[in-house]
Amino acid sequence: MRLFAKIRRVGLVTEPLPDAVPEAVAVVRDIDARARRVLGRAVGIRQVDAGSCNGCEIEISGLGGPTYDLERFGLHFVASPRHADLLLVTGPVTRNMEVPLRKTWEATPDPKLVVAVGDCALNCGVFAGSYAVAGPVASVIPVDVTVAGCPPDPNTILLGILTALGRLETRR
């Protein structure tokens, strides 16, 4: 019973999403019209860690919590890429994760979108040139939207996902 009293005391803590799209979000290629049409208001997101330091992951895990609550937009995380519509990729793609990332992308049914989160996913970040890194995410799988930052905060990531879905205006 104390639990329910505490729930009532805390109340609704979800913050409203900011209006403006920060410069961090960039659209890399034209979003497929079929994807926009099919993935109307229900999107399954599969998060792939392609060798990241987990800084981006901590921000992404905040998305599922009460403050940022991605479910209110109809998004939810899924376990299997077969259930996914959007791949959320972090990390400079390390050599060992290159094939698994590609396999994950192939296992996802069409229509699908890819959002690369973080400076590492965009251009390998601080790990650029390392012997263990194969290249940015765009060199392994086609990327639709990138979200720069090290790490980007959850609101920016959310804006990036919604941009990919065509639910927000953006600029290249």
Partner: protein, 678 residues
């Protein structure tokens, strides 16, 4: 019609004798052909005879008092109760004959197929005559012939130690059962009646109660060991897998039912029922048998042994119905009794159909891959599609899934128990509630067992090179399997006529009235406390209709072709059979849940790289074994005692000729004293 029954009978005998005459054929191919034709012809004639008897009510009576006069001669009388079991035998003989025509080819060159043909013929004819036997002598003669011919069939692969051991266990247990039967018949006739069933029936009423109880218990033990009651079942999981697959089908589908037939004949027909504790004992035996059978089937890795344990489970279910029938009859609820017996008999018929199909498809798998170990099978659904399809249909039937026949008989068993609970006193109601719980748990565990059996054997990727190179069976084997599997949906669709026939057959037994059951589109039972209705045909129709509508709907909205992509394994590279679930793994959660019953012995062997430190592990081996506890608790001490007694008497065989001459002289002296004394 009067003249037709003897003709059909002699046709049946001729058919089976033709099958047995494979012994005399010059080539192996001719042996196979005569075996197949004989079994099919005999089966067809037997089935017609059984149906004629069931539908017209005419009984076939044949007597040959001249044969073996000293024991009272042979007497045969086929009434409706026996006709049901004759129908089972003949119905199964036809597909088995078809199947065996091609299957026995795999034995040519290594083992004698002529001898196998003779024994199959003898097996079929002795089983058919058991159902028609009308005197104790005829019954026991045919029973023993059945046991001997099946013994020779079990030991067909006599170069395998497993088969020889299985056959010896079988021989010992069937003769122990025979002793109990002989004692029961002796006690039955102790009132001065001659051996014929009619006289025994008349005389049984005058027997003292103690003798009647003893007869019932002896009959339960003797027939129960043939049927597979726990703990007299230990021969079944050994003998059924060791025999050739079409013989396993005959043994599992048909022979164990004759144990039920014997119990019904002696307990219900000859003795005419008894006090409430008879039914209670049978119900308890049935519950224990059903649960034990399914629990051991669940953890088996050998496909045929899994099917053998599943037979034990289903016999337990039949016994639950039989016990409930005896109980209700003694409590004065005759309609509930008829319902219970009818449910049990219907389940016996249904079980013959799907267990026969399961064993035939298991034989086909064995033929295709050479292995029975489910941990080495897999991927057969694409390599041997007909076999897999037969396996699936019969697995769904045995798991009691609607709308197939297994569901109908389980439903009837539930209804029989339910109709009894409502009208009984508290203790009986408690017993019946436990029965319902056991029935439900068995049904659920059986479903789990057959998901495992079909899923691991037939689906996914082959787990061994043998499975990878599996091929479909030859046409004749396929035909036999498909015919047997076709019985399942047919029995579901025609449940109502079959059930009506069974109830009509039971009505011949005094004290069992016909149950007011209305049969039109569905099956509506008007039991004394309400209405229960179920319609397998309606469910089948609605299910089929719904599936078609949904499929068309999906085709229209989303009919795009699918892309082929690797099985998702978290991005791993490549997939090997070692990544799949194994048969032992599938049953592991339930094995843990019931670990108190199984008492598995587990052994972990850890090999370390350096003896001084246990942390540098080089190898690890985990071995676990399930040893059925009855063997440890009951049979091993028994066998040890017999061996000790034998070792003690061996002392008489000293090897010295003088001692032997001394024994002879001693025997002569004793004999002279005895003769002179009288």
């Amino acid at each position: 019609m009067t003249g037709l029954s003897p003709t059909l009978f002699w046709l049946m005998v001729a058919g089976y004798v033709t099958a047995a005459s494979g012994l005399l054929m010059p080539t192996a191919r001719l042996t196979r052909i005569t075996g197949a034709i004989g079994a099919i012809a005999g089966g067809a004639a037997g089935l017609s005879l059984a149906c004629a008897t069931l539908w017209t009510g005419e009984s076939l009576t044949l007597a040959a008092p001249g044969m073996i006069q000293a024991a009272g001669g042979l007497a045969l009388h086929l009434d409706r109760l026996g006709a049901i079991f004759l129908a089972i035998i003949s119905g199964v003989a036809i597909p088995v004959g078809l199947y065996g025509g091609a299957y026995s080819a795999s034995y040519e060159g290594r083992y004698s197929t002529r001898w196998m043909a003779l024994n199959v013929g003898a097996f079929l004819i002795s089983m058919s005559l058991v159902t028609a036997a009308a005197s104790a002598f005829t019954f026991v003669l045919c029973w023993e012939l059945m046991a001997l011919s099946s013994f020779f069939l079990v030991i067909t692969e006599h170069e395998r130690e497993e088969s020889v051991s299985a056959a010896l266990w079988y021989l010992a247990m069937t003769h122990a059962g025979l002793l109990a039967l002989l004692a029961a018949f002796y006690l039955l006739g102790s009132g001065g009646a001659d051996g014929s069933f009619a006289a025994l029936r008349a005389g049984a009423a005058q027997l003292p109660p103690g003798t009647r109880h003893a007869i019932f218990l002896l009959a339960l033990a003797g027939f129960g060991s043939k049927a597979g009651i726990v703990p007299l079942h230990v021969w079944l999981p050994r003998a059924h897998p060791a025999a050739p697959s079409h013989v396993s089908a005959l043994m599992s589908a048909v022979m164990v039912k004759l144990g039920i037939y014997g119990l019904l004949r002696v307990g219900l027909d000859l003795l005419g029922g008894g006090p409430a504790w008879w039914g209670t004992v049978v119900i308890l035996c049935g519950a224990v048998t059903a649960l034990t059978g399914v629990l051991y089937a669940l953890v088996e890795d050998d496909l045929k042994r899994l099917l053998a344990y599943s037979t034990i489970e289903n016999i337990g279910l039949v016994l639950l119905g039989v016990g409930a029938g005896f109980l209700f009859r003694s409590l004065g609820q005759p309609e509930a009794a008829t319902l219970a017996f009818a449910a049990a008999l219907l389940h016996a018929v249904n079980h013959a159909a799907f267990k026969g199909a399961l064993f035939l498809s298991a034989g086909s798998i064995l033929h295709a891959t050479g292995t029975r170990d489910m941990n080495r099978l897999g991927g057969l659904v694409t390599r041997a599609p007909w076999t897999a399809a037969v396996f699936l249909v019969s697995a769904m039937s045995i798991a009691a899934l609607p709308p197939l026949n297994g569901f109908v008989s389980e439903w009837l068993l539930f209804q029989a128990f339910l109709s009894g609970v409502a009208h009984s006193q508290a203790s009986i109601a408690g017993l019946l509630t436990i029965g319902v719980g056991a029935l439900a748990l068995t049904g659920g565990l059986a479903a789990a067992t057959f998901v495992k059996a079909f899923g691991i054997s037939c689906l996914a990727i082959p787990r061994s090179p043998e499975a990878e190179h599996a091929h479909e069976s030859p046409r004749l084997m396929r035909a036999g399997m498909l015919l047997m599997a076709a019985y399942c949906p047919l029995l579901a669709v025609f449940t109502i006529p079959v059930l009506a026939t069974i109830i009509g057959a039971l009505a011949e037994v005094p004290g069992l009235p016909a149950v007011p059951a209305a049969f039109h589109a569905g099956l509506t039972l008007h039991t004394s406390n309400g209405v229960a209705a179920m319609s397998p045909v309606a469910i089948m129709a609605v299910l089929a209709g719904t599936l078609v509508i949904v499929w068309m709907f999906v085709r229209v909205i989303a009919g795009r072709p699918a892309r082929i992509g690797d099985t998702w394994g978290c991005g791993r590279i490549g997939q090997t059979p070692r990544m799949e679930y194994t048969s032992s793994a599938f049953a592991e959660p339930l094995r843990r849940v019931f670990s108190q019953l199984y008492r598995p012995a587990a052994d972990t062997a850890v090999g370390v790289a350096r003896p001084e430190s246990p942390y540098y592990i080089q190898s690890m081996a985990y071995r676990t074994q399930l040893h059925p506890w009855f063997q440890r608790a009951i049979y091993e001490p028994l066998i040890a005692a017999v061996e000790r007694a034998a070792a003690w008497t061996r002392r008489l065989q000293s090897g010295s000729v003088n001692a032997y001459v001394g024994y002879i002289v001693l025997a002569l002296v004793v004999l002279l004293i005895v003769v002179m004394g009288f």
